[in-house]
């Protein structure tokens, strides 16, 4: 577009007005997305910020009315989508976007990096209370890691001048923003640890935008603080925003001034503390002595007046005496009762009784013995009579007395029951009921020729 065909000299204002016109006509309503930074909301209620991406940035303003209607609070690092018009602010010759609408678009890159690192280090336990070292009350030598030209060191020195002065400050100068600042800060923390003899250190800088403070959100700094043997107080920027360094540090101060106040204890306060303790020391010692004195007094009083002690003792003796009598009586009652029962049991068990019972049993038993023997004898006599009768009945003597005789063949003297046992000439012996005879056989006959007589059993 060729606006000026021939050379025409314009004033700055005229040119600016022209440009402004062009811009405002052609960009009445634009939608832009980007990341907020340098957000500032002064008393006026209007809100100023920069919208940027990797390659460019644009200044934005949101006036009070539009800003109030927002449902959320915009913060540095947020990715947002905004709608507005382009205008040109003539006094500064800057063009800007007047936003009338904002909505969040997830979060910005820096913010995201911050959240991720915070989570990672928290998981590793770098923020744990267990790691926090105690800040000394009266440090002699304080290390400071900050820019030697920044607001932070000025603020710290101001506090030092106002407060207790028994202190040495050792400043390890670093750049606190821009490329490589984080490395310098981490290196300085390590250096102070190597120098030694430093009681505590302050690491920080004055306030600024999220980008300005970024070095204190970097991992190298967090690791150096965590590594440090010397207790670290972080003091970064404004009161509100926390940095990763704040989480790792042993103590977080809202500002460098506050850090100085914390670390350079007021001489007045400490003096007061020592005085208070010294006072308590004397008072408690005084009390202790008074207690001892009181004890001595009480004891000596007890020594001069033994009757009270004796009275007590006498009373105790009396009461014990009474108890003794009572107890003894009880024991005696008990014993005599036992004696009575035992005597009764004993008399039931007397030997006279046993003797009587035994002799009764004895006479009883001898009686039974006599009876038994008599019965047994009668029984035996009867059996003998019976057996004698039976014996007589079968006795061969009885048979002989009826005229029979027994023939025995000599010399064997075997009884002869058949004529066939005998041959003529055999000698036999005949036994009778009374006496015997020796005979010689002349002849023997067979069975058929035997004497006919009814058979008799002998």
């Amino acid at each position: 577009m060729q606006l000026f065909k021939e050379r025409r000299v314009l004033t700055v204002s005229a040119l600016t007005a022209l440009v402004r016109g062009l811009l405002e006509e052609n960009f009445e309503q634009v939608w832009v997305e980007g990341e907020i930074s340098n957000l500032a909301c002064p008393q006026s209620g209007h809100c100023y910020f920069t919208l940027k991406d990797a390659g460019a940035q644009i200044r934005c303003v949101m006036f009070r009315g539009a800003f109030r209607s927002l449902k959320f609070t915009p913060r540095d690092g947020m990715r947002i989508l905004t709608r507005g018009r382009i205008t040109l602010f003539e006094p500064r010759g800057e063009y800007q976007l007047v936003a009338d609408y904002l909505e969040p678009q997830g979060i910005g890159g820096l913010q995201m990096a911050f959240i991720q690192l915070k989570e990672k280090l928290a998981k590793e336990g770098l923020f744990s209370e267990l790691h926090k070292r105690e800040i000394p009350k009266l440090p002699r030598r304080i290390g400071v890691v900050t820019s030697p030209t920044g607001a932070a060191i000025r603020d710290i020195l101001t506090v030092l001048n106002r407060r207790f002065t028994n202190v040495e400050l050792l400043i390890s100068p670093v750049r606190v923003q821009g490329e490589g600042a984080a490395r310098e800060i981490a290196g300085a923390i390590d250096d102070l640890n190597r120098v030694g003899n430093i009681d505590v250190m302050i690491v920080g800088r004055g306030g600024g935008s999220l980008e300005d403070l970024w070095a204190f959100n970097e991992e190298v700094v967090a690791r150096a603080i965590h590594r440090s043997k010397i207790p670290v107080i972080s003091a970064v920027g404004h009161e509100t925003d926390f940095t990763i360094a704040d989480f790792v540090a042993d103590l977080r101060a809202a500002t460098p001034s506050a850090a100085a106040e914390l670390v350079v204890a007021s001489k007045k306060e400490l003096t007061a503390e020592v005085e208070a303790l010294t006072h308590r020391l004397h008072v408690s010692q005084q009390r202790r002595l008074e207690r001892s004195r009181a004890l001595v007094t009480a004891l000596s009083r007890a020594v001069t007046d033994p009757s009270r002690v004796l009275g007590h003792l006498a009373q105790r003796v009396d009461s014990l005496d009474a108890r003794l009598v009572r107890e003894a009586g009880l024991i005696l009652d008990d014993a005599s009762e036992r004696i009575v029962t035992l005597t009764a049991r004993l008399s039931r068990q007397t030997p006279a009784l046993t003797l009587q019972r035994s002799s009764e049993r004895l006479s009883n038993l001898s009686l039974r013995l006599d009876h038994a023997i008599a019965r047994r004898l009668a029984c035996a006599a009867e059996s003998v009579g019976l057996a004698t009768g039976t014996l007589n009945a079968v006795s061969p003597l009885a048979t002989l007395s009826r005229g029979y005789s027994i023939t025995r063949k000599l010399p064997a003297r075997s009884v002869v029951t058949s004529s066939r046992q005998l041959a003529p000439g055999d000698r036999v012996e005949l036994s009778f009921a009374a006496g015997s005879a020796l005979c010689t056989v002349e002849q023997s006959h067979g069975e058929s020729e035997s004497l006919t007589a009814p058979p008799r059993s002998v």
């Binding site: 009266l138 028994n166 400050l169 050792l170 100068p173 020592v274 202790r288």
Partner: protein
């Protein structure tokens, strides 16, 4: 009594006071504790009254050693 640190002495002073106030000590022990307490108290006061003030800048040499020089504020 070789105490080097102010807070160590302050802590010991506190402990002695608490012990004495606790009243568990024998007379002998309490006298000893009191004496110690007085020493700690004197030490703390002395430290508080030492006035010495230096502000220096740490400079790292090429060989890795350190030197310090007085810090000058840039106006």
């Amino acid at each position: 009594m070789a105490v080097e640190k102010f807070e160590t002495a302050l802590k010991k002073l506190e402990d002695v006071v608490k012990k004495l106030e606790g009243g568990e000590l024998s007379l002998e022990e309490s006298l000893k504790a009191f004496e110690e307490g007085v020493k700690f108290s004197a030490f703390c006061s002395k430290k508080l009254n030492e006035a010495e003030r230096r502000v220096e800048t740490l400079i790292k040499q090429r060989d890795g050693s350190f030197v310090t020089k007085p810090f000058e504020e840039e106006e």
